[in-house]
Symmetry: C2
Subunit: 416 residues, 2 copies
């Protein structure tokens, strides 16, 4: 099945809103065997919508639109596409009663008459119920089997209608057909450069058994994305499962999770399973490591707290970093990092102390201690390991990469 | 001037990459008076590229493409568009020498011959120099004045070539023409609901003197975006300056900055100007407030540090929160927040202590203390103010909104 996506709206076309709907739709549809052949964005203008939809229907006979279904005069998707299909708009009075009840329920009082535009449905169309908002989706099909599905533009609503209504409908259409899909799975690695990783992967470095392998370097490390194309759904899943297992073996200790999982979540699970508690001591990251750990629901069973030791006074006063270390080696040093980790472990009475101290920039660098230099330390019940790195990027990147490296040091020490 | 944008690449079409180039291009171009009438995304396939570009040239005679300029066999933009314009590709040997030198300079050794594809330029085309990567942009124009500008797909490179090469070229073309632009400015507000803000704005609530007003509610508050359309550049800027000043007066103490400026940066400036130092005491936000403050370069002149008091033990041990308060009122209470703020101020010897304690969810809520309930306190040299709020959203939103409200409390106390 081939189709085109048309996203509608002045805000999108003018670039005030980045179009995340199109990417979400494309990924989800490809995973069930629908190929997107083109994507377009047009303004709210009726002529622009009409010509884009007409051209797309001529090419593929299948179109999904997003946006322009609201109650205001800017929202022209419904009447324009109804006209393209030669249908008039008829009010759906049941829907009006439901909408009126919803407004009252939400304490908004009597619904304005202008909202009646939202219940005007092209004759013969099927309503795609929107459980997350007031603008319903619409499915319109002609006698030749050409169809257009109109989805709302608000991403949360679009995703809801897609999952609840459109996905089942498309899957049913594809059922029985010899369908092939595009599906992906990602193995996350950190602490290893792309070129080194390719070496480690050896014979798998360029893909596995017809699965394409993409290296996606980012602040969290290098993600390895395997993509199965043009396989039947079951075959794709089996190939991906085997492929990920093979990659995991080769990437060994650098692999920490799959898909979107955050390293902080992996670390918390490892600690929780062993009954270990953790505290952080942060200088240049100023709380970012603590924020990442506590972003995970349930983190309070592991994370006790921490000290943001931005000034040397706090490093000494609350963490017991020695004046001697600071004077001889400086605040950004292996020694200071080590004393910070041990200091926070003892002070907060936890099993694991983690510290970060570095030069995040853009100012403050010296020939000896350039911007990007970061020292980290982890103290697990008295067993201390330190790690120094020179990170590239701007201030935000250096800080984030430092938290990632510190978390990885914890992971390796805890998981062994 | 009307034009169309075509972004090229399988990754974009499959939704693995969200297309941020298109939005950036549209905003920038609109600001100098170029109207984007349509945007499309196609695969790396030569036929798909050719038909999309041909159709766009037929409609508007002006096209900007991104992507497909690299050295691999997937990169077909250059030959396909050269053929559309009836041009052959000729090698640019000077460019080859420069590229070869660059590779050596970067320690990559001898450049592979495959990279020669990147110096193949359509006959008669103008090279748009890329200072941030190896794939140059290309400007191609026919005798009828129809043109296509090819830009690289990597966002940083695309932005560079746009700013350095394409922007000046387009501005020169528009010079002397009666041009009208689309430009925007945004006033940021926080701590006030959209409906209340509309009331405050009174007669300006629906726009000012032909400037459109958009309410953009988000985690940071409600941004007010004023947009001037179809005005000459100078008139647009003058109208926006006047409009922002008028909005600022009506929004009064809720307005804290313009455009992208973060509230943390505003707070740091206010403190710095008065020589005030600051420390944080965070429970449910776990370091996020500290992370936001220290994300700003130069924050070390104001931020001394803080305590992440995730557990009650840390609240008592490091911050001096009393057992009585915790037992009688609980960790999420006005009393605990107040003691945390004063505790961290004294402990770290600073002018301002800021605290946050709340129920971030998804678990941990009770009928008395539901998910989203957050208490904040600010102690400025002994003058303590507290603020309780019930935030909506998921864990991440509740935490972020809490840091925003705490920062705003500091801003109001410090700025008076």
């Amino acid at each position: 099945m081939l189709l085109e996506i048309i996203t509608i709206g002045d805000e999108l076309l003018l670039g005030y809103t980045v179009d995340t709907n199109a990417a979400h739709l494309a990924r989800e549809l490809a995973s069930i065997g629908v190929s997107i052949v083109r994507r377009a964005t047009v303004s709210d203008d009726a002529n622009d919508i009409a010509s884009a939809v007409r051209e797309a229907l001529d090419r593929t006979g299948a179109v999904i639109t997003t946006g322009g279904l609201g109650p205001t005069s800017d929202d022209r998707t419904r009447p324009v596409i109804a006209e393209l299909f030669g249908r008039d708009l008829v009010p759906d009075e049941e829907r009006w009663d439901a909408l009126r009840a919803l407004w009252k329920e939400r304490g908004r009082g009597e619904i304005p008459e202008t909202n009646r535009t939202q219940i005007m449905i092209p004759r013969g169309a099927t309503v795609l119920t929107n459980r997350h908002g007031t603008a319903p989706g619409i499915w319109l099909e002609d006698e030749l089997g050409r169809w257009c599905a109109m989805l709302p533009g608000v991403p949360r609503e679009m995703r809801g209608v897609l999952a609840d209504e459109l996905f089942p409908r498309l899957t049913a259409r594809l059922d029985g057909q010899q369908r092939v899909v595009v599906r992906s799975r990602t193995l996350r690695t950190t602490g290893v450069a792309e070129s080194k990783l390719a070496e480690l992967l050896g014979p798998l470095a360029n893909g596995i058994d017809g699965l394409a392998l993409a290296y996606l370097p980012g602040q969290e490390g290098v993600d390895l994305r395997l993509t199965a194309r043009d396989l039947a759904p079951d075959a794709a899943d089996a190939a991906l499962t085997g492929g990920i297992a093979a990659l995991r073996e080769m990437a060994a200790r650098y692999a920490y999770a799959e898909n979107q999982t955050d390293l902080a979540s992996v670390v918390l699970n490892e600690c929780d399973a062993r009954g270990l508690t953790i505290a952080v001591a942060e200088s240049c990251t100023g709380g970012l490591l603590g924020a990442r750990l506590t972003a995970i629901p349930g983190s309070s069973s592991v994370v006790i707290g921490g000290v943001i030791a931005y000034s040397n006074g706090v490093k000494k006063g609350l963490l017991g970093v020695t004046t001697e270390s600071l004077e001889r080696h400086g605040a950004v040093s292996q020694e200071a990092a080590s004393e910070m980790a041990t200091g926070v472990r003892r002070r907060l009475g936890v099993d694991i102390g983690v510290s970060i101290t570095g030069v995040a920039g853009p100012g403050g660098g010296t020939p000896d201690k350039p911007v990007g230099l970061v020292w980290m330390a982890v103290d697990v019940r008295g067993d201390v390991r330190t790690h120094g790195s020179r990170f590239v990027g701007d201030r935000a990147e250096i800080r984030f990469r430092a938290t990632q490296a510190a978390l990885d040091l914890v992971r390796r020490m805890v998981a062994g």
